[in-house]
Structure formats: C-alpha cells, structure tokens
C-alpha cells in the first residue's frame, strides 16, 4: 500500500507541476496580524477543512513557485491511511515536509502526538479529517490547549471544483480556474485557557466566506 500511495503522490505532484498557470489570490490581512502576534514564541496551528486540503496544497505550491506571497510556514500532519500517505508523498514531492500521525495503533499515535507537542513545531491539520465533516472535535481543541497554540483558520476555494467520490471529501479545482486562499483572525490559546470547537468552526467558516467572495470577484473570472 505504501508503494502505491507513493507512486500516486508523485504522479499527482507531476500533474500539479505541469498544470497550466492559474491565478492564486491570497487574502493575507489576517495572516499579517497573526505574524505580528507571533512575536511571542507560540506554536502555530494552521487548521482547515479536509475539503480544502488539496486546494491548499496546490495554492501553496503555486504561491511558492510563482509569486512573492507565501502561506505561513507549517508542517502538515498526515496520517498513515492510504489517503494520508498519498497526501504526504504529494507534499514531499512538492517540497513541503510533512509529519506522520500513525492512526492504526493507538500507542503509536499517542507517541506521535507526544513528539509533535514536544517539538513545538508549527503544524497544519485538517480538523475534520475523519468526519463528521464541517465539525471541529473537542480533541483538536484539547490538543491546541496543550500546545498553548496560535490557531490560524485558513480556507481555499475555487470557482469550479470537482468532488471525486473518495472516502474523504476533497475538492479538486477544474483546470485554469483561479484559486483563492483566505485566512481568518487568529485564535490565541494562552496557557490554562480553554478553547471551544465553536470558536474554531466560526473562524473556519469566516475564512471560507472570504475565499468564496474572492473567487466571485470579477477579476478572478476565468479567461
């Protein structure tokens, strides 16, 4: 399974590299605010809906290679399911380092979580990776509390997307369709503070609304 996931990831990466140019618009106002807030040494958790994950990977690559703009520096977390392994392989082929969270053995998963928390690395995580989709779990919030993290809700949208019938809900942009990325106001979790799933969900939907508005802007119309 690992070899197949790797081959598929590398093939997808080749597709992303050779895709015809597409505009990527990054609404970065909120990220500038987040960057300012990071003058304190706080772990950054970039969170997104799983549906946006592929769009974000594309946008991240296109921004890094074709623009002065950049998404925040973070290490995406992938699990060791087939989809997670494909995503990790795709990210690495595109030059982004990804971390693995082993899913099947709970002891190994705990060890991986320990390692991530200890390393205080900035990470990216799909908050609804295994469903229910569009909902933030209480365990994500406890993880953010443990890290005393600065959470950056981020969303990516394209005007026209395909949604292949996969186990995970993933949006794939149609060719030559601009992609918009938007960041909502960061949520800072101080030591001892609690974080509610509602707060994270609100941030993610706000980012989604901004990204949708950007894709509907006239200058983003397909040529």
């Amino acid at each position: 399974m690992k070899a197949a996931a790797r081959v598929l990831g590398v093939a997808l990466a080749a597709g992303v590299r050779t895709a015809r140019p597409s505009e990527v618009v990054f609404l970065r106002d909120a990220f500038d605010t987040a960057g300012f807030a990071r003058s304190e040494p706080q772990v950054l958790i970039v969170c997104y809906w799983i549906e946006d994950a592929f769009l974000l990977i594309l946008a991240d690559y296109w921004l890094r290679t074709r623009s002065q703009e950049k998404l925040p520096e973070f290490q995406p977390i992938c699990d060791d399911t087939f989809g997670g392994s494909v995503t990790k392989s795709l990210l690495e082929a595109l030059g982004r380092k990804a971390a693995t969270l082993r899913r099947h053995k709970s002891a190994e998963r705990i060890a991986d979580l320990q390692q991530i928390i200890r390393s205080r690395t900035s990470i990216g995580i799909a908050v609804d990776g295994h469903g229910p989709y569009g909902r933030v779990g209480a365990s994500f919030c406890r993880f953010a509390e443990r890290c005393s993290a600065l959470i950056i809700p981020i969303a990516a949208r394209a005007r026209f997307c395909l949604t292949p019938r996969l186990r995970a809900r993933i949006a794939v942009p149609a060719p030559r369709i601009p992609v918009a990325v938007a960041v909502a106001a960061p949520i800072s979790v101080r030591p001892g503070e609690s974080l509610s799933p509602d707060a994270v969900e609100s941030g993610l939907w706000a980012a989604r609304r901004s990204a949708v508005e950007l894709t509907q802007a006239p200058r983003l119309s397909p040529e």
Partner: protein, 90 residues
C-alpha cells in the same frame, strides 16, 4: 508500583472527567475507557509534570492500558533515580 498505578488512575479519571472508581488498572484506554489519543497524550504530559520525568514511548507496546502506563512511569522514575544516584556517587 502501587503509587504509580494510583496516580495514573487519578490522572486518567481527571482527564476523562469520571469518578476514579470507574477506572481500573487492567482496563484498555481505548476499548474500555473510550479514551482518544489526544486525551491519552494529555494524561501522559500531566504524569510527566507530576513525576518530573520524560515518558519515552518509542517502544510503545503496553501503553494502551492503565497498568502499562504505570509501568512506563515506574521505569522512567527508576531510570532517573539511577542517573541521580550515579551522579551523587560520581
């Protein structure tokens, strides 16, 4: 070992927000207690703070049970005591 088991039971009960009487040493964190991995990782960090040790889970076998975690804590405490003893005698 008894002390470690008691402390682990207490920490897990707090993390799970259940009475301590509902947590027993032979129980599986996941199957019996319904604990997810983030809660388990949180409990381990709390134990690290209590004992002042780092709990290494590289050889993660056995940490899926209450008694397994107590054993990991015990080994870490003994290792630290051994290092402290060696430092004192050195």
């Amino acid at each position: 070992m008894l002390d470690e088991v008691e402390t682990v039971l207490e920490v897990l009960a707090t993390e799970l927000k259940v009475p301590m009487s509902r947590v027993r040493s032979a129980q599986s964190l996941r199957n019996d207690l319904g604990m997810d991995s983030i809660s388990a990782a949180n409990a381990l960090f709390t134990l690290e703070e209590i004992y002042g040790v780092e709990l290494p889970l590289e050889s993660a076998d056995g940490v899926d049970t209450v008694s397994g975690i107590a054993a990991v804590v015990r080994r870490a405490v003994e290792r630290r005591s051994g290092v402290d003893g060696a430092r004192r005698s050195g």
